[in-house]
């Protein structure tokens, strides 16, 4: 019960801070800012817990195993949310096709109706911008090249897909 209470309280506080921050001054590097917020709130939570083991009316972990358990719980939720956020922050072309098709209802959408979504290639442009901002690619003269960070991410993703024997998507 202590693990559930304390971790959820810590997570909820971090989440509310994230929502408020995004409304007032959205950061440029979203994922990094998210990780910083959640890590900061966890650290502050731990210090508060260590200094004041029984805050008013809140059950707090008081043994090392409970603390480790709480850490696993907290960071698994952070991991899940950061993954979810990566889906949320950019538009998915697939979901936009589904949405546009739904708008045409029983009349159905033609290829031309759907190709409007890709007019001026907004997705490619946006992804290049994001990758440059996240330092996954860099520009040398007029050419884009992957950075070591970008290569690491690519290998991380393709490693498991290679094990499964799946061809490239995109």
């Amino acid at each position: 019960m202590k693990v559930l209470y304390w971790t959820m309280l810590n997570y909820a506080l971090a989440f509310m801070f994230h929502m408020a921050w995004w409304r007032v001054f959205p950061p440029k590097k979203h994922t990094l800012a998210l990780l910083e917020i959640f890590f900061l709130f966890y650290t502050i939570g731990c210090i508060v817990l260590w200094k004041f083991p029984t805050p008013i009316g809140i059950y707090t972990p008081n043994s090392i195993p409970e603390f480790i358990y709480s850490t696993i719980f907290y960071f698994s939720m952070v991991f899940g949310y950061v993954c979810f956020y990566s889906v949320l922050e950019v538009d998915s072309p697939g979901l936009m096709i589904v949405n546009t098709t739904a708008k045409y209802g029983t009349d159905g959408a033609t290829m031309d109706d759907l190709s409007v979504i890709f007019e001026n290639n907004p997705f490619t442009d946006s992804r290049i911008g994001h990758m440059e901002l996240d330092k996954l690619v860099y520009k040398k003269r007029d050419k884009y090249l992957p950075t070591p960070k970008g290569l690491f991410l690519m290998k991380l993703i393709t490693f498991y897909r290679d094990l499964l024997g799946i061809q490239k998507g995109g």
């Binding site: 019960m1 195993p65 696993i72 697939g94 098709t101 990758m131 050419k143 995109g170």
Partner: protein, 178 residues
């Protein structure tokens, strides 16, 4: 104390079974599809989480209310990790960014913006996605027109728009406001 250690390990053991089951199912029968293999993996791991919880309830002195709290913690922790794994596995299937990185890595001297745009021409991007969506049953192609098939993805799409409005304050990355 032993119960606590068991509870602590439960979401991790669930994840180990999730990944193993997903891998085995997909390798043995690729025709089931990536999504189905992930679902099978998720429920395999979840059943282990439930089984460990029942074991702890029946074989230790912890109270039912504490057991319920542990169960909630383990299911949420397991599902969060599981969702992360789902995104990891499916990311390469749909992510333009990963595909671009693969293409940039394969090119000897990198690619210019124009070359990338050419590689990801609107016809090609649309065709790949329409093929995937019709194959998955989310869209139906009939008499030269596309119709909504399975409504699950439409539901997901609506849900994501609502969450975007709540969290980001806008419907789309291309709109500055909703």
């Amino acid at each position: 104390m032993n119960t606590l250690y068991t509870e602590m390990m439960t979401p991790l053991l669930g994840m180990a079974l999730f990944i193993s089951a997903q891998f085995i199912v997909f390798r043995l029968s690729p025709s089931v599809g990536l999504f189905t293999s992930v679902i099978v993996g998720y429920f395999s791991g979840l059943s282990l989480v439930v089984a460990i919880q029942l074991y702890c309830l029946l074989n230790s002195s912890i109270e039912v209310i504490d057991c319920a709290a542990y169960f909630a913690v383990n299911v949420v922790a397991y599902s969060s990790m599981g969702y992360g794994f789902f995104v990891y596995v499916c990311l390469g299937e749909t992510a333009i960014r990963i595909r671009m990185l693969v293409e940039l890595n394969a090119s000897a001297n990198g690619l210019s913006k124009e070359e990338i745009m050419q590689l990801y021409g609107k016809e090609k991007m649309l065709a790949i996605r329409l093929n995937r969506l019709t194959k998955g049953g989310q869209l139906i192609f009939k008499d030269g027109r596309y119709f909504i098939g399975n409504r699950f993805l439409l539901f997901v799409s609506k849900l994501i728009i609502i969450l975007k409005l709540i969290i980001l304050g806008k419907k789309s990355e291309f709109n500055e406001t909703s």
